[in-house]
């Protein structure tokens, strides 16, 4: 029996990270926070339009969802989005269980899955051939988890998550294109601007 015999068919469209990120950003009207993970997820977030409520992760691979969880716990009235790559999530699968347990309803996680470590030379991840990361999220207890079938479905799932009563994870199959922009690597300024954007700080 093939290891994939019991897995649902992955008949989802292969989309583009910058395109879906731009679609997300276009929907943000209420100063929602967005946490961009390491590398391409934050590069495309940067390219989609710099907002004071965006935070760009420059290291600490795998921590976009935990950081987004922290923001969501601190500001339960604000919608918080986390953008993470498949390779990154593989580094921190346990975070899905933590998020399922705490269950912040204001957290939407977006998983960009191309099956490769694009930024290091497009090597396949160990999960590429046999692992369904959305199925892992569901099994971890995040029941509002689904693959987006296409761009329209992605937008529908984003809208749905905005009023969900539990955290949401949206899987997006993406192509192998590199990120569109390059984030300015100034962690103090990124952090300070984000805190200003969240109303935690006031400018000098």
């Amino acid at each position: 029996m093939s290891p994939q015999a019991n897995m649902p068919a992955r008949n989802t469209k292969v989309m583009n990270r910058f395109d879906v990120t731009s679609r997300l950003v276009a929907k943000l009207k209420n100063e929602e926070a967005v946490i961009g993970g390491i590398g391409n997820t934050n590069f495309d977030l940067w390219a989609a339009g710099n907002r004071p409520q965006n935070w760009y992760m420059l290291g600490s691979m795998g921590l976009a969802f935990p950081i987004a969880l922290g923001v969501a716990l601190a500001q339960p009235k604000r919608r918080v989005f986390g953008l993470e790559g498949d390779g990154s999530l593989l580094m921190q699968l346990g975070a899905l269980s933590t998020i399922a347990t705490l269950a912040p309803k204001n957290l939407t996680m977006i998983l960009m899955d191309n099956g490769i470590y694009q930024i290091t030379g497009s090597q396949p991840t160990p999960a590429a051939a046999h692992t369904d990361l959305v199925a892992i999220a569901i099994a971890s207890g995040i029941v509002n988890s689904a693959w987006a079938a296409d761009e329209e479905d992605f937008e529908r799932l984003i809208d749905q998550s905005m009023s969900a009563s539990a955290p949401t994870l949206i899987g997006v199959r993406i192509d192998d294109k590199p990120g569109t922009g390059t984030t300015r690597r100034d962690p103090v300024q990124i952090r300070e601007r984000f805190m200003l954007g969240l109303g935690v700080r006031r400018a000098l």
Binding site: L58, G59, M61, L63, P66, I67, Q75, A95, T98
Partner: protein, 188 residues
């Protein structure tokens, strides 16, 4: 709190009678408005963890890895909520990357309490070796750290260190030595 009130309610709860190391830490966290306390457990931390869970002031929960907890409190700090992470020595040893790539360069006042295994009666060779990596890692990143050995100094060290971390936007590690906690021994 009034002095008279203190006299009339002796040892009503661990936080009102901070004569234990864990009582002092709980009260010091509270006084500094540190509400979010994720942890990866350690035998030595059992009572502190139990008491934090019992106190509705705190949002405390286990994480799968220590760096996950560091990510959570870093995000919470940026969102305006203060936190601290509890772990043991071997857990600290998994943190070099997140300290060097997130906490230190972003100037996040990460507050770490590390139950110190690997010294003063350690029975596990792996623990004693991993313990030796902790202070060199902290020193290599110039992260402030204090080894807490005495009950009468603990409140001063913890309270001042937390305040310094927050005001200078720099991480700090408070290492809870077996001289303070009793540690974990083979025949326990």
């Amino acid at each position: 709190m009034a002095v008279a009130e203190q006299r009339t309610s002796p040892q009503a709860s661990p936080e009102q009678a901070p004569q234990t190391w864990h009582g002092i830490i709980q009260q010091t966290l509270k006084r500094n408005d540190i509400r979010l306390v994720p942890y990866v457990p350690d035998r030595v931390l059992t009572t502190l963890i139990k008491n934090l869970h019992a106190d509705p002031f705190f949002t405390t929960f286990p994480t799968a890895r220590e760096e996950e907890a560091v990510g959570i409190v870093s995000g919470a700090w940026m969102g305006g909520m203060k936190g601290a992470v509890l772990m043991q020595t071997s857990g600290f040893a998994t943190l070099a990357n997140v300290l060097a790539s997130l906490v230190a360069p972003s100037q996040i006042p990460l507050i770490m309490f590390v139950s110190e295994r690997g010294t003063l009666g350690e029975f596990n060779l792996g623990q004693s070796l991993v313990c030796r990596t902790m202070r060199p890692v902290l020193d290599s990143l110039a992260i402030e750290h204090h080894t807490c050995t005495r009950l009468d100094e603990l409140e001063f060290i913890a309270d001042r260190s937390i305040k310094q971390a927050v005001t200078t936007q720099a991480p700090v590690a408070l290492i809870l030595n077996p001289l303070l906690t009793g540690g974990k021994v083979f025949d326990k």
